[in-house]
């Protein structure tokens, strides 16, 4: 299959219009049109500032503007009102509360010894997961990192399955074999959970290719599935990231690369690890739009996500979205979190996405305290029930040890007695010599 199948005449415009976004950004507000549409995306109107000071000076009022919605850029954190309906607002709120409550419960369970291994919590970053994943259909794919509990929950994996998986029980979404860092779900198209940074991005690229192939070559006209790849700021210095940006832009794959820039890679600050800390700029270098958005504001994230997902669905290619966000806890539950400045933590704690959404909904009369409290209570009960379910579930049987290494257990070969090893009755007990 040649690349001309995926060629679109408007691709040249993207490259031209996104050129100047990499240039000096002091005077102009660069814009770029999404291919084939009248939607415009307004980029970060940066003042000239050096990368080392960029955290303080960086404007956070980045917003996606679409002609249809006719928004005005204001200095308030929330642009316009009626960005969401009441139902949507409650859905977003519930999802974020679920993420936060679940992660807090994970921490409790870990310290009680019910959970073990390396657990990485998502507190503070809920806006990104909710903002993006709640826009997806069931058939859209999500590829995540080791900080994947909340991505799984947003995508629709039941909380009880995620909790069981964390406890290592058979009823978990991966039957207890993956653990915290390897959440998979065929039903919800969650393609992992990767302990290794950057390993998921090429896999997401492959998933997106399948979707494009199904539509363009196999002529399944309704196949417009989009893939979202989530990863962090540290990953953006890894070769696999760049290789995939190139491939995705080259073949115009329906993928959205979402960078959850929480400024820290364990103990390595993003500014000190990256030559140009503004990750969104790396998109135009490869021929795709690069967008920076305030990842602590779920409404802004949702606006940007809508544009990017729709762009991918239309077949116009990939987008790179950098979400400026923050994790309130340490890198993992084993991390004492001593390196981060308390004032930085306080700054971001004040921008807690859940508090912000609550305030927005109440101020704009979309919901009242009572309704929100009811949601919180409901989620509390859900998470408690998930823990009870996980506690009551059985541990995996020994026979599960040797399953799924190969597709066909005959792959273990012939044993010393000349028969297939898997036919040895002790094989499934895990005691046969493999």
């Amino acid at each position: 299959m040649s690349s001309s199948t995926f060629f679109s005449s408007s691709s040249i415009n993207t490259i031209k219009s996104s050129c100047f976004t990499t240039e000096n950004h002091s005077s102009i507000i660069p814009t770029s049109s999404f291919l084939g549409s009248t939607h415009k995306l307004r980029f970060n109107p940066l003042t000239a500032n050096s990368p080392t000071r960029f955290i303080k000076n960086r404007q956070t009022h980045i917003v996606a503007v679409s002609d249809v919605k006719q928004k005005q850029l204001k200095s308030t954190p929330f642009v316009g009102n009626l960005l969401i309906t009441k139902e949507e607002g409650l859905e977003l709120y519930e999802d974020m509360i679920l993420g936060r409550t679940f992660e807090d419960m994970c921490a409790q369970m870990y310290y009680r010894g019910k959970m073990f291994g390396f657990v990485h919590l998502y507190n503070g970053q809920e806006a990104v997961s909710t903002g993006f994943i709640k826009l997806l259909k069931q058939q859209d794919c999500v590829v995540s990192t080791y900080r994947d509990h909340v991505h799984a929950l947003s995508k629709g994996v039941p909380a009880r399955e995620v909790m069981s998986e964390l406890f290592g029980k058979t009823t978990g979404c991966v039957r207890g074999q993956g653990g915290s860092m390897h959440m998979f779900s065929k039903e919800h198209n969650l393609i992992g959970g990767f302990a290794f940074i950057g390993e998921g991005i090429p896999i997401a690229t492959g998933t997106a290719f399948t979707s494009k192939y199904n539509r363009d070559v196999l002529k399944q006209a309704d196949c417009d599935h989009v893939t979202l790849a989530f990863f962090g700021d540290g990953t953006c210095n890894n070769g696999q990231f760049f290789e995939c940006l190139n491939m995705a832009a080259l073949w115009k794959l329906p993928i959205v690369f979402v960078v959850e820039n929480n400024l820290w890679a364990i103990g390595m600050s993003h500014e000190r690890a990256t030559s140009d800390p503004e990750i969104w700029k790396k998109g135009p270098a490869f021929g795709m739009p690069g967008v920076h958005v305030d990842g602590m504001d779920v409404l802004k994230v949702r606006e940007v996500a809508k544009e990017a997902v729709e762009r991918a669905r239309r077949g116009d290619g990939p987008t790179l979205i950098e979400c400026e966000t923050y994790r309130f806890r340490g890198h993992s539950l084993a991390d004492p979190d001593e390196l981060r400045d308390p004032s930085e933590k306080a700054h971001y704690a004040a921008r807690d996405p859940i508090t912000a959404l609550k305030k927005y909904m109440i101020e704009n009369k979309l919901a009242n305290e009572g309704e929100l409290k009811a949601i919180e209570k409901k989620i509390d009960e859900l998470v408690e029930e998930a823990v009870e379910f996980a506690d009551a579930s059985p541990h995996p049987d020994r026979s599960q040890l040797l399953q799924n290494v190969f597709a066909d257990p005959k792959g273990f070969g012939i044993g010393p007695d000349g028969r297939y090893r898997c036919e040895d009755p002790k094989f499934t007990q895990g005691t046969a010599h493999v």
């Binding site: 390396f118 993956g178 653990g179 302990a195 070769g239 390595m268 690890a273 541990h395 599960q400």
Partner: protein, 360 residues
């Protein structure tokens, strides 16, 4: 000076009395011949070795992910403060880049000590190690070499690491001519072996058993000393069966030996220390004495380094062997999460195998 020793191009012993061939147990310390040693654990011993390496060679550098604040296992604490950020620095998250960059440094005559945060993450760097580091001297006709390269990585099971924090990839590197693979079993060994590895004129991959970072405590001399590479050590003498292992697995095998002793089986235990080039003579001499061999390692059994040892010993001692060479290793599955106790070559598995080999 220590760097001068490497010019002789051979393994040199720094303090002869400490590392004479046969010692009886890992905790034996020559109090009479050496200055008094204090007890340290494994990561402190490695930290001391790194301090000494950077002190004695002004062109030695330590870098990797998060080494600046001390590293996730605290092996590099204090180095950045003492030697400055130009010599001890953090790299971005790119293993391939880290190792390739280290090879370049080493090619220019520096001592590059690269840390890979977990041995499981060494695979992106596998290409650089196998295709570049191992072949550098060979393909440049000895005009250049990357002997100053040492790659340190914590390896092995830790109880809760699961698939990507517990692997033992030593076998992959043992298949590469041009590299050396060194694995210490305890703090004192680690310090001496690490200093030897750093000063060895060949690229070395140094795997540290992460399980032992805090658990293993031993008396470690505080001065600069090196232990010879490619020399195995008999740490327990016996006459019925030879057991070979390395790293954290040795403590498991030793417990099995003690249990076997109670049943009247006298076990000889050898710590291989350097996996390639490995000390065939010591193992062969021991097998000639006992007639039986058992190898134990955490990595999966098929294609693990035990296979190489078994094949070589059978080739050399075929007529002397009284039982097939036994291997008690990890199962042929990816490293499991909850099934770790089933996967691991535990003391009981080793003991069973000892008994069945002796009673063959």
């Amino acid at each position: 000076m220590a760097t001068g020793l490497t010019r002789f191009g051979r393994r040199m012993r720094w303090v002869p009395s400490v590392c004479n061939g046969r010692q009886f147990s890992t905790s034996f310390c020559d109090k009479d011949h050496n200055p008094p040693a204090k007890s340290f654990n494994l990561y402190t011993a490695i930290n001391q070795a790194l301090h000494i390496a950077l002190e004695t060679d002004s062109r030695a550098y330590v870098f990797g992910e998060d080494v600046g604040f001390g590293g996730v296992f605290r092996c590099t604490t204090g180095l950045a403060d003492r030697f400055g950020k130009t010599r001890v620095f953090n790299t971005p998250l790119c293993e391939q880049g880290i190792v390739g960059f280290a090879i370049g440094l080493a090619a220019m005559g520096n001592r590059a000590i690269a840390e890979i945060q977990f041995a499981d993450y060494i695979f992106p760097a596998f290409d650089q190690l196998v295709n570049e580091a191992a072949k550098f001297r060979y393909r440049s006709g000895n005009q250049f070499n990357c002997g100053g390269l040492t790659v340190r990585a914590p390896y092995g099971a830790v109880g809760h690491g699961a698939l990507y924090h517990s692997q033992s990839p030593e076998a992959f590197f043992c298949h590469v001519p041009g590299l050396k693979v060194v694995i210490p079993r305890s703090p004192r060994e680690a310090k001496g072996l690490l200093l030897s590895s750093i000063r060895d004129p060949n690229p070395v991959v140094f795997f540290e058993p992460k399980w032992l970072y805090r658990l293993s405590v031993e008396e470690v001399p505080e001065h600069d000393y090196m232990l010879p590479l490619s020399e195995a050590q008999v740490i327990r003498e016996g006459s019925d069966i030879t057991l070979v292992g390395w790293g954290a697995q040795l403590s498991i095998i030793e417990q099995a030996c003690i249990d076997a002793e109670k049943e009247g089986i006298s076990c000889e235990l050898i710590d291989l220390k350097t996996l390639i080039p490995w000390d065939k003579e010591t193992v062969e001499a021991s097998v000639r004495k006992t007639g039986r061999l058992l190898i134990s390692h955490e990595a999966p059994v098929t294609g693990g380094f035990g296979a190489e040892i078994a094949a070589s010993i059978v080739e050399r001692c075929f007529l002397r062997l009284e039982a097939p060479v036994a291997r008690v290793c990890g199962l042929d599955t990816p490293f499991p999460l909850v099934f770790e106790p089933l996967y691991m070559p535990t003391k009981n598995k080793v003991l069973d195998s000892i008994k069945s080999t002796v009673n063959y």
